[in-house]
């Protein structure tokens, strides 16, 4: 028996970074907002207490902060003809749960996508031609431009307290920053992070080779900062427990440190935790949402009526929520039609290790989640792809986010995997190895997509999400090209041995790559090829907005969160300034 609750103006499904932003913006307008979070409450004090929070086994190995896979897993297959099986433990990507979502365990790497990224299809066709891109890649424009989003990037970075050095101020290239970035209207709110030793060695080599190294933009604080919500953060102390962990120092921009306290003090907002939303409910014509149905911790079901439904449950879960709710036509890879599940993409990563002699102490444990020195020369459309036969690219970054030894104990190629020699090599190289990360784009294809699994169910009896994904040939070529460049830099860095590990098919769910899943509920200008319009509003149900990297038509070679924050504020602004005045489609279908 489902209990029907008192209607509210807005229900926000998932209280992570984006849910908190939308809820705060709309509650400030005086709307009654309910936030439904499937997980529990958790705060810097007492939950993120040190030293317990620095428990590598609990958090890195057993995935203590991640979506409870015993209740909600997903399935994967590499091709349409294969049978998908459950991912029984998270490994390749790590969706978070509980209050704050993945925004608690992120690293704080804060990149803007570029002007080219938002008009990717147009740009690629104009510069290289349709034949060059080929028909297998289903790249699309976003329906929104960088210039439109710039003020919202700025707003999000000031919420986060991002530290960095501008490379392009209003069109003028700045020394010390990234010369390839798109224009920004003003400097970062905070200065860049300190560089690691590996970063200094990388910077020297990259400079000598004519590249353009810069310090990674970071939302780990580089000095004490009071953000635009009036919340105070502390300077990061480079403890080396950032990704997969919560920060006990109030030094990482997370929902808990930058917005949730303000949201929860708003009398128009109500947070309900342990509220598992099962579906968005639609009216008879399926043109409008009437609210959501959720189960509480004991399994009792409630219907929460609302005029506006904001879905912010992480990219993968957003796609699943739309499928479970029947909003938008599910994508069919056989005919290339339908919108929900379309253009699922990922991130093409790779690793390079530079092994030094014992006089070079790298000190890998002195690290922040977003410390790093990188070049953007081979990323995005920052170089001529004409001779290379692929689109997209990677940044190449010297970065060690940690020296946690279960995860980090590099050995040179040829070392046995165990035994006396292995032990000696681990001891010999632990403190004398630099690391480079390749962080590359992921292009959508017709057969990489998301739908509901026909067999496996979650703890509430609902179908799991099924992912069909293989590395596209384009991306395999791209990452090998960037790997070759990275290994060249590694050799220049003066190591005794340089080992590169480019990503190759088959895609495996068993090795960590990154939690940058994108697409599935993409934005665009054409309702037949996108699920959302340029304001993240559903084409099919105008009072449903879906905020997540699920909106990205393809994934560029930059970390996704900054662009997502900009889109969240952009969407919130459209709701406040346009939708509330005249509820209905903001773009004619």
């Amino acid at each position: 028996m489902t209990q029907k609750l008192k209607p509210v103006d807005v229900v926000v499904v998932g209280v992570g970074f984006m849910g908190a932003i939308l809820a705060k913006e709309l509650a400030t307008e005086g709307l009654s907002v309910v936030g439904l979070e499937r997980g529990k409450q958790r705060w810097t004090v007492p939950e993120f207490h040190a030293p317990d929070i620095h428990d590598e086994l609990k958090y890195s190995i057993r995935k203590g902060m991640m979506q409870d896979v015993t209740r909600e897993a997903m399935t994967h297959r590499n091709s349409l003809t294969q049978e998908a099986l459950p991912i029984r433990q998270w490994a390749a990507f790590l969706p978070g749960t509980d209050l704050g979502g993945s925004g608690v365990h992120w690293n704080g790497q804060t990149f803007r996508f570029t002007e080219a990224d938002f008009v990717w299809r147009t740009r690629m066709h104009e510069r290289y031609g349709k034949d060059f891109v080929g028909r297998s890649l289903t790249i699309q424009d976003w329906g929104v431009t960088y210039d439109e989003l710039e003020p919202y990037f700025d707003k999000f970075e000031r919420l986060l307290g991002t530290g960095g050095k501008a490379g392009n101020l209003n069109g003028k290239i700045q020394p010390g920053g990234n010369p390839f970035e798109s224009w920004r209207s003003r400097e970062y709110p905070n200065p860049p992070m300190k560089e690691q030793y590996g970063g200094v060695l990388f910077r020297k080599a990259a400079t000598e080779m004519g590249y353009h190294p810069f310090v990674q933009p970071s939302s780990n604080m580089t000095r004490p900062y009071t953000n635009t919500e009036g919340l105070q953060l502390n300077a990061c102390n480079y403890c080396g427990f950032c990704e997969r962990y919560a920060c006990e120092h109030f030094a990482k921009a997370t929902p808990q440190t930058v917005i949730l306290p303000v949201l929860l003090s708003n009398p128009h907002f109500e947070l309900r935790t342990e509220a598992q939303v099962l579906r968005v409910n639609l009216d008879k014509n399926k043109k409008r949402a009437t609210g959501v149905t959720y189960a509480d911790a004991t399994g009792r079901e409630f219907e929460q009526p609302a005029d506006l439904v904001i879905v912010t449950t992480y990219a993968l879960n957003n796609a699943r929520m739309m499928l479970l709710s029947g909003i938008g036509k599910p994508y069919d890879p056989k005919i290339g039609e339908g919108v929900i599940g379309r253009n699922y993409a990922y991130q093409t990563t790779g690793d390079v290790y530079v092994f030094y002699d014992e006089s070079i102490n790298i000190n890998p444990f002195m690290a922040a989640g977003a410390s790093g020195t990188l070049i953007d020369d081979f990323n995005d459309d920052n170089f001529d792809h004409g001779p290379h036969g692929f689109i997209g690219g990677s940044y190449i970054m010297s970065a060690l986010t940690n020296g946690r030894p279960i995860e980090f104990h590099p050995t040179p190629p040829g070392t046995p995997e165990w035994g006396k020699e292995w032990k000696a090599a681990v001891r010999r190289h632990y403190n004398h190895t630099a690391h480079m990360l390749l962080h590359g784009s992921s292009m959508p294809t017709r057969t990489n997509y998301l739908d509901l699994d026909p067999t496996y169910k979650d703890a509430w009896g609902q179908p799991l999400l099924r992912m069909t994904f293989e590395l596209p040939d384009n991306d395999v070529k791209m990452t090998q090209f960037c790997m070759d460049r990275a290994v060249e830099i590694g050799r220049r860095m003066g190591g005794k041995t340089v080992a590169g590990y480019p990503r190759k098919p088959p895609f495996t769910t068993q090795k960590y790559q990154t939690t940058h899943n994108t697409g599935g509920v993409i934005m665009g200008s054409d309702p037949s090829t996108s699920a959302l319009n340029r304001y993240l509003q559903s084409w099919d149900a105008h009072n449903v907005f879906v905020v997540g990297a699920s909106a990205y038509p393809q994934n560029p070679g930059y970390n996704p969160t900054d662009t997502l924050g900009a889109l969240a504020y952009w969407s919130a602004d459209a709701i406040k300034k346009q939708y509330l005045k005249k509820p209905g489609p903001l773009v004619p279908a």
């Binding site: 086994l57 297959r77 099986l85 459950p86 991912i87 480079y238 690793d351 000190n363 104990h409 050995t411």
Partner: protein, 241 residues
């Protein structure tokens, strides 16, 4: 990372062959209805720990095997002295061993290496089944794994890792990979979990432990940090440095 690189081809082959092999009668699948302690020469009474999960014959095998994975040397203890067997025992006895961290709904079907673990055995069941098969195998030859020479032990472990046999329905590589993974975890995890006694693994590589504030040190490039590590369990007595 080396492992990741090499896994791609070899694991695929092994899984395919493993499951094929597991269904034929000709292989050395040894059913065990009961477990029998295997007498060994090893004297371990001086450091015998109370085991919650492992039975004595299992302790004998696991101890010998993990000490080949991480053997003692002149300077640093091996896995056994670091407490790895106690670590694995506790993991198997707890939530991890009972698949409490895994999606555990069927149907359980054979998958590809890219799809990960799909056997219908919890980690604890997997260990029990596989070790029973190994101990039976040696018992039938009137010997035991710990009684082999170090070279012969290594040879046998290499065979398991190469998926040379099936252990009571468990492809030997799945078990051996599991055992190696747990050995490394136990060696390097915080001592609160029973391994890494006296933080020997951290001392060996120079990891200072979970207490950390490197704001003043990170840009003193190449500095040699020479200090005692601090573990989570010591927390009440140390401020963050």
């Amino acid at each position: 990372m080396k492992k990741d690189k090499e896994e791609q081809g070899s694991r695929r082959d092994f899984l395919r062959s493993a499951f094929a092999v597991g269904l034929t009668a000709a292989t050395a699948v040894i059913p065990t209805d009961r477990l029998q302690a295997v007498p060994t020469k090893k004297q371990s009474t001086d450091k015998a720990a109370p085991f919650v999960f492992f039975r004595p014959d299992e302790v004998e095998f696991v101890s010998a095997a993990v000490d080949r994975f991480i053997p003692p040397d002149e300077e640093w203890p091996g896995a056994v002295d670091a407490g790895v067997v106690e670590y694995i025992d506790q993991q198997m006895a707890g939530k991890w061993g009972s698949a409490g961290y895994m999606y555990w709904h069927g149907p359980f079907k054979e998958g590809t290496p890219s799809q990960g673990y799909q056997l219908p055995f919890t980690p604890a069941e997997l260990f029990r089944r596989a070790i029973a098969a190994i101990n039976q195998y040696f018992s039938a030859q009137a010997t035991a794994f710990p009684q082999l020479t170090a070279d012969k032990q290594d040879e046998y472990l290499r065979m398991l890792l190469a998926n040379g046999t099936t252990l009571n329905g468990v492809p030997s590589k799945v078990f051996a990979d599991f055992l190696l993974q747990h050995t490394i975890e136990g060696f390097f995890a915080d001592p609160i979990y029973g391994g890494n006694k006296d933080m020997v693994a951290w001392r060996m590589v120079g990891f200072p432990g979970p207490y950390a504030d490197y704001y003043e040190l990170i840009d003193q490039y190449g500095i040699k940090l020479d200090r005692e590590p601090v573990s989570i369990g010591q927390g009440a007595h140390h401020g963050a440095s």
